[in-house]
């Protein structure tokens, strides 16, 4: 423990009250508060979005409970343990992603699911969203930073192997998110600006070629972003309806349960990927800013915790996971409001569905572990 840490930690650990008790169970009060606020707001909106379907709502409630439990559990584990287990997690995940390619189950033309006996059907790519940043951090933790070229190359390979396997499923959205989480570690590790610049240039040069690699539906999604009216009943429908929902909400919204766009089924996926449009329609700009603010509290706090961490692995992991969290929230809201093409990213902790809540809360649990476990 560094001097600084020691000094800072004294009054808090020695303090009284709820904050102190929370620290003893390895929870970060500020993060927990923001989390519960997001989840609470999300559950209220979800109840409206599922049209007061109590069964669906309770289902989500129990999943969130489970995920919160997992978060608490994850927070109890010392970061050292994570460091030790990272290669196995990554390796196991990689094997599973590989198995998807060989024996995955196809849904809607994409082979993304794995149906193993004795386990519920799941997407191994979800594991990689956490495993990849952990692995890159693991690789960097005992190497000199900023990383040397050789280390960067190895890190890129660590990222590229699972990301590539996911992209060919095909699941471009998740592939990019997994790669992004890994690259975030590389950037946080201090990758030279010169190299970042070169990579950006190379990407810009290759971008036109990428167009030809995209699948038809992916191109259509990009095109409809620029002109949703070109196919108003087809690909453009989602974006037209979601922007209409958000825009018609105005400053204060139409009121809970009053959203016509969602309740009359104009808004597709209103309780899953597009639930932010329900917030926009029923709670207005005020609701949108509230949830954005809560997300930014979580992200900022996560990055702060990262800067305060003593060990390289801790820093990189908590930093990358915080940024990943941000990217999810941003991409989801941006796509629903028509700023980026539609990709299958749920709104963190609000969208109906269990998988993403579990990965997200588990990673927040890891960040809390970084914050609350002393010594290395």
């Amino acid at each position: 423990m560094s001097n600084q840490d020691f000094v800072r930690s004294l009054p808090k650990d020695a303090g009284f009250g709820a904050r102190a008790r929370l620290r003893q169970v390895h929870l970060d009060p500020l993060m927990l508060l923001a989390l519960l606020a997001v989840i609470g707001l999300g559950l209220v909106v979800l109840y409206s979005a599922v049209d007061r379907n109590a069964a669906l709502w309770l289902n989500q409630l129990s999943r969130l409970g489970l995920a919160l439990g997992l978060m608490v559990a994850a927070a109890q584990v010392h970061p050292r343990v994570y460091l030790r287990w990272t290669p196995f997690l990554y390796g196991g995940g990689l094997v599973l992603v590989g198995m998807v390619l060989v024996m995955g189950v196809s849904v809607n033309g994409s082979r993304r699911w794995l149906d193993l006996p004795g386990l519920p059907r799941f997407q191994p790519s979800e594991i990689m969203k956490v495993a990849v940043p952990l692995m890159v951090a693991w690789y960097f933790h005992d190497r000199p930073l900023p990383p040397r070229l050789k280390d960067v190359v190895v890190a890129l390979l660590i990222v590229a192997a699972p990301a590539g396997a996911i992209v060919v499923q095909p699941d471009l959205g998740t592939g990019i998110l997994v790669a992004g989480a890994g690259l975030a570690v590389v950037v946080l590790a201090g990758l030279y600006w010169k190299w970042i610049g070169l990579a950006a240039l190379a990407f810009a040069a290759a971008a036109p070629g990428l167009w030809y690699v995209l699948q038809d539906y992916q191109r259509r999604r990009i095109l409809t972003l620029f002109d949703p009216g070109s196919d108003p009943l087809g690909a453009g429908w989602n974006i037209i309806q979601s922007t209409t929902a958000i825009g018609s909400g105005g400053l204060y919204g139409k009121g809970l349960f009053q959203g016509t766009q969602s309740h009359l089924d104009f808004l597709p996926e209103s309780h899953t990927d597009f639930i932010i449009a329900v917030i926009g329609e029923e709670l207005g700009l005020v609701g949108m800013l509230t949830i954005l603010a809560l997300y930014m509290v979580l992200v900022t706090r996560g990055l702060y915790i990262a800067t305060q961490a003593t060990h390289t692995y801790e820093r990189l992991v908590s930093g990358a996971l915080s940024l990943t969290f941000f990217v999810y929230a941003f991409v989801n809201i941006a796509m629903v409001s028509g700023l980026v093409p539609v990709v299958g990213v749920p709104l963190p902790l609000v969208s109906y569905g269990g998988t993403s809540a579990i990965t997200l809360l588990a990673s927040i649990g890891i960040i809390m572990a970084v914050r609350t476990h002393k010594g290395w």
Partner: protein, 628 residues
């Protein structure tokens, strides 16, 4: 491990990391700033646009079709009503795979390839989004039940209940009342789009067509909240449609049935008028078609059969069939001669059975001519010329008149004109004159033309409706009435503006009229006088008649018989045989009914058309006379 640790610089690492984290956090805030800007754009700056768009999404104005006005006959019997049918319709926007859906539906209800074809055509036509498009009309109850059971797995399928036109008497009234047909794309370009926004049928012929505006009614609206699937969630506001005007027409369905029965299977037409009002009591054109077929969908096979038939059942002979009037025209020629002063009742000629214009070889024969016998009616005055139907008398009389005078005189009876008040698309017929012949044939008028016109042949054309009007005019002793369908309506109808009464036929004196009527009575009643002395129709219809009927037979040539050749019925094909005509009215001194009967290719007017006329008038008069 130690080697690596040696070059790890923890302090620098932390500094770099903190800088990177701060930078990335800043970038995150910039991105969130962009997001907030976008939200402000959507929710504040462009709020009203999206507000409107969401309302338009949600609120739909649906037109409500007005029930079409009913049509009753003079006895209050329903001629055209509405009946509910169930239609299988599909909302295209809600169907993920149209082909699969159609296959599925074909298992549940009988759908012909033609149904599908028409459905696809309608899909491509003008329509509102989420508007259900009809696939199959008139579902049976069993089909409705089968659809209802399977509906949950057939998204986009709807069963619409609507009122459609129904003609209880079927083909019986087809040509009199007309029919409706499905509105086409072309109609939509022409019609008032708002008024007709919910209407699917429009008057095609007859009364249905003429009174379309009144029968149609006023479209209503309902403001509804719909969901994305086009389903109505709630009705917010309704303006009820106003039903079309119901109207009562002069037609007498019992008389119509009697007239149709009298014609039997023969091709032809009967038009019966009330001479006092011009009201059309019966209008039969045979063969006819069932107008209900055009409402619930007719297969192209059925349609081709109707269109392709040589007997043209879709053709309304009563108002559009144009034929030479033959001898039925003679009373008019006689009246024309009287009013022009070229003949008097006392004047006699000798009819030897043939007529020749001065200085010409061509021989115009009497109807009684046969190869062995020149025929002829002997001494003939106008009275006898009418009841014996002497051709020679009228050949001669016609040559004494300027054709333009005869033509103008005949026009007063409605010949060559359209007199009907509310019968659409009647044919005008033709009374030839000099101007017409110059224009149509590029020739001057020859005296021989007049000879032919004198017996209602040559270029003359009339419709049964026009000859019925002639009969009514003679019955009225010169007062001309417009044939009309409308008897009564609850409110004044926009289609009819007070028509000017027509001027009476100018020229003949009241005595002339009475004597022409006398002569026409003789056609029917003068009998038991021996060969060549009886009225032409007496033998066929006059022997047992209980009321006074005035009539005139006519036999119109269809093909020209060469000079010197006999008309041999056996040699001519059915469609080349003569048309049989009979015009009549009764009772002669106070006429209640005037009519014209045409039997296409029927042969002799008195023998073939006369009995039809008698039967029709019997059916109308006998019950009334019994009451009196």
């Amino acid at each position: 491990m130690s080697a690596r640790l040696a070059i790890k610089d923890d302090l620098r690492e932390r500094r770099v990391f903190a800088a990177r984290a701060a930078l990335l956090l800043m970038m995150a805030f910039v991105l969130v700033g962009v997001l907030v800007l976008r939200l402000v754009q959507l929710q504040i700056w462009e709020h009203e646009t999206y507000q409107t768009r969401s309302e338009q999404n949600r609120i739909q104005i649906q037109p409500l079709p007005p029930p079409r006005g009913l049509i009753y006959d003079r006895n209050g019997d329903l001629l055209a009503g509405n009946r509910p049918i169930s239609t299988l319709a599909v909302v295209k926007e809600r169907v993920p795979d149209m082909g699969a859906l159609l296959d599925e539906l074909a298992q549940l209800v009988e759908i012909t390839g033609e149904d599908v074809q028409r459905f696809r055509a309608r899909l491509d036509g003008t329509r509102r989004p989420f508007e259900p498009v009809a696939l199959k009309l008139s579902l049976s109850e069993e089909e409705q039940a089968r659809l209802a059971v399977n509906r949950y797995r057939l998204p986009g399928v709807e069963i619409l209940n609507e009122l459609v036109r129904y003609y209880p008497l079927g083909a019986m009234m087809a040509h009199a009342v007309g029919s409706v047909r499905r509105i086409t794309e072309d109609d939509l370009q022409r019609l008032d789009g708002v008024r007709y926004s919910a209407t699917r049928f429009i008057g095609r012929h007859g009364v249905e067509r003429f009174y379309e505006r009144s029968l149609h009614g006023e479209v209503g609206h309902q403001k509804v909240e719909i969901d994305a699937h086009g389903r109505v969630r709630q009705v917010l506001d309704t303006r009820r449609p106003v039903a079309g005007q119901s109207i009562t027409v002069h037609l007498d369905s019992r008389l119509q049935i009697a007239a149709a029965a009298a014609l039997g299977e023969r091709r032809g037409a009967v038009v019966a008028l009330d001479p006092r009002s011009g009201g059309v009591l019966a209008m039969v054109s045979q063969p006819a078609y069932d107008p209900n077929l055009f409402v619930t969908g007719i297969s192209s096979e059925q349609y081709q059969a109707l269109v392709g038939s040589r007997d043209t059942p879709l053709f309304n002979r009563a108002v559009n069939g144009q034929y030479a009037p033959g001898s039925t025209f003679k009373p008019v020629v006689g009246l024309a001669g009287l009013s022009l002063g070229v003949v008097s009742w006392d004047e006699q000629i000798i009819d030897h059975g043939s007529f020749r214009l001065p200085g010409q070889d061509r021989i115009y024969r009497d109807w009684s001519w046969t190869p062995g016998n020149s025929g002829g009616q002997g001494k003939v005055d106008l009275h006898r010329a009418i009841y014996r139907s002497s051709n020679v008398f009228f050949y001669d009389l016609a040559t004494r008149m300027e054709i333009d005078d005869l033509s103008a005189f005949a026009a007063q009876f409605g010949l060559g004109r359209r007199l009907a008040l509310d019968i659409p698309d009647t044919s005008p017929g033709l009374v030839p004159n000099r101007v017409w012949k110059r224009g149509a044939k590029g020739q001057p008028w020859f005296p021989g033309d007049s000879v032919n016109v004198g017996i209602g042949q040559g270029d003359m054309l009339v419709t049964p409706l026009q000859l019925a009007t002639v009969a009514a005019t003679i019955a009225n002793r010169g007062r001309v009435v417009r044939p009309r369908m409308l008897l009564a309506s609850d409110r004044p109808l926009v289609e009819v503006d007070d028509p000017q009464p027509l001027p009476p036929v100018a020229g003949p004196s009241p005595d002339d009229w009475e004597r022409v009527v006398d002569a026409m009575e003789a056609v029917v009643h003068r009998g038991n006088r021996g060969y060549g002395e009886n009225g032409t129709a007496w033998y066929h219809i006059g022997q047992d008649i209980s009321y006074r009927m005035a009539g005139k037979s006519g036999t119109a040539q269809v093909v020209e018989i060469r000079q010197g050749e006999a008309y041999d019925e056996e040699e001519l094909s059915e469609y080349q045989r003569k048309h049989a005509w009979f015009i009549a009215f009764a009772p002669a001194d106070d006429p209640l009914i005037a009519l014209a009967v045409l039997v296409e290719n029927g042969g002799g007017g008195s023998a073939v058309a006369g009995p039809v006329a008698r039967e029709v008038i019997d059916a109308y008069l006998l019950p009334q006379l019994a009451v009196r």
